[in-house]
Symmetry: C2
């Protein structure tokens, strides 16, 4: 409420002792790999072992497992920004839109941790929300182009995009090894459903900015 933390990560990186700084990095790297491979279910003991530190050290840097999850998800922000840049660089409006969707869903499907990133505790974190808001502005631009060109249905909003992308990404998790490309099939259905022609009016309106309210 009082001080506004402008450093994206939130963690005070000031004056960390050399070994502490290195240990923090190790834990983050270990968690990043473990989460991507096995999802958020991996125990903290396994992560600490993988990082070569005690569990106490892990919790010193990340006071809760959720905090560690947030840190890893924020790390993935770079990839999402790249997806956005790649889409914005595309001259054809429909191509730009499909590029965006394809890259988001592909990334979400292949990274188990991103596939599970829709859990309410994570979405409720203010840093994650800030990141999402930032990305939404870029998505807005892509959608505007598509609508102006008459190729994209007019009633889709930027908030719909992460919902649709995560719906596919999350559901594809169980096909990750057996049919790793299956997400393309359902993305195809959704993309056809988002075309301007032949679209039936959508009811109800898009989700509000309070993506987290209910449940937990």
């Amino acid at each position: 409420m009082a001080t506004v933390d402008t450093t994206r990560g939130g963690e005070a990186q000031r004056t960390l002792r050399a070994d502490a700084r290195r240990n923090r990095e190790r834990v983050l790297a270990a968690a990043s790999a473990a989460f991507a491979e096995e999802g958020f279910d991996v125990g903290v003991a396994a992560i600490a072992r993988r990082a070569g530190v005690g569990t106490g050290t892990l919790f010193r840097h990340f006071p809760t497992k959720l905090e560690l999850e947030v840190a890893v998800v924020l790390e993935r922000a770079a990839g999402m920004s790249e997806n956005l840049q790649a889409a914005l660089a595309e001259p054809d409006p429909w191509e730009a839109f499909t590029t965006l969707m394809t890259r988001i869903v592909e990334q979400t499907s292949s990274d188990r941790c991103l596939g599970q990133a829709t859990k309410p505790e994570l979405l409720g974190d203010p840093r994650i929300q800030e990141l999402q808001d930032e990305l939404l502005r870029g998505v807005e631009e892509i959608l505007r182009r598509g609508r102006d060109a008459g190729v994209l249905r007019r009633d889709v909003t930027a908030e719909d995009i992460p919902v649709l992308a995560s719906a596919i990404g999350t559901t594809m998790e169980r096909f990750r090894t057996s049919q790793p490309e299956l997400w393309r099939r359902y993305l195809g259905v959704v993309l056809d459903g988002l075309r301007a022609d032949g679209a039936a009016p959508l009811e109800p309106g898009p989700p509000g900015p309070d993506l987290l309210s209910g449940t937990c």
Copy 2:
């Protein structure tokens, strides 16, 4: 491998002592309600308390928590069968299809336990698979009518339906209280994407019958 269990539930209901039979029913009812409200995360202790029995009794009737989950999901089979019958009764092919999808997604979105029913351990259970196979045959019929009438895209298979339905249902879980009707919006997108006109070819092919293989 040797004996084929034809009784859908699997549980031998022979000669259960009166109190045992009643306790089993109580546990199942308590679990059914608790799972629907809070999802599979509720502790067994809470379920046992709600049923008015000791945890030992719970585990006597359902040797594992997963077993209890399976029993509850199988109980929901009746509702899914009803959905199918309602759709088959619809004369208009497109109406029949939308009725089916609407009812499935509605049920999946409002029942927290069904929303989480896609976890691999559950889908791997032979009884759940048998149930799914049975339902798929009905879905097949609905799809055939839609294709024959030229209203439904020809490359959609019955296996796609539960995948698409659960994708929406699972993702809508976090909007259950804040925007309980939001699922209609995304079902709208998907339905438009499944129309015959304006459909782009789907890649890759549908998921195989081995819905569970990888991951766990």
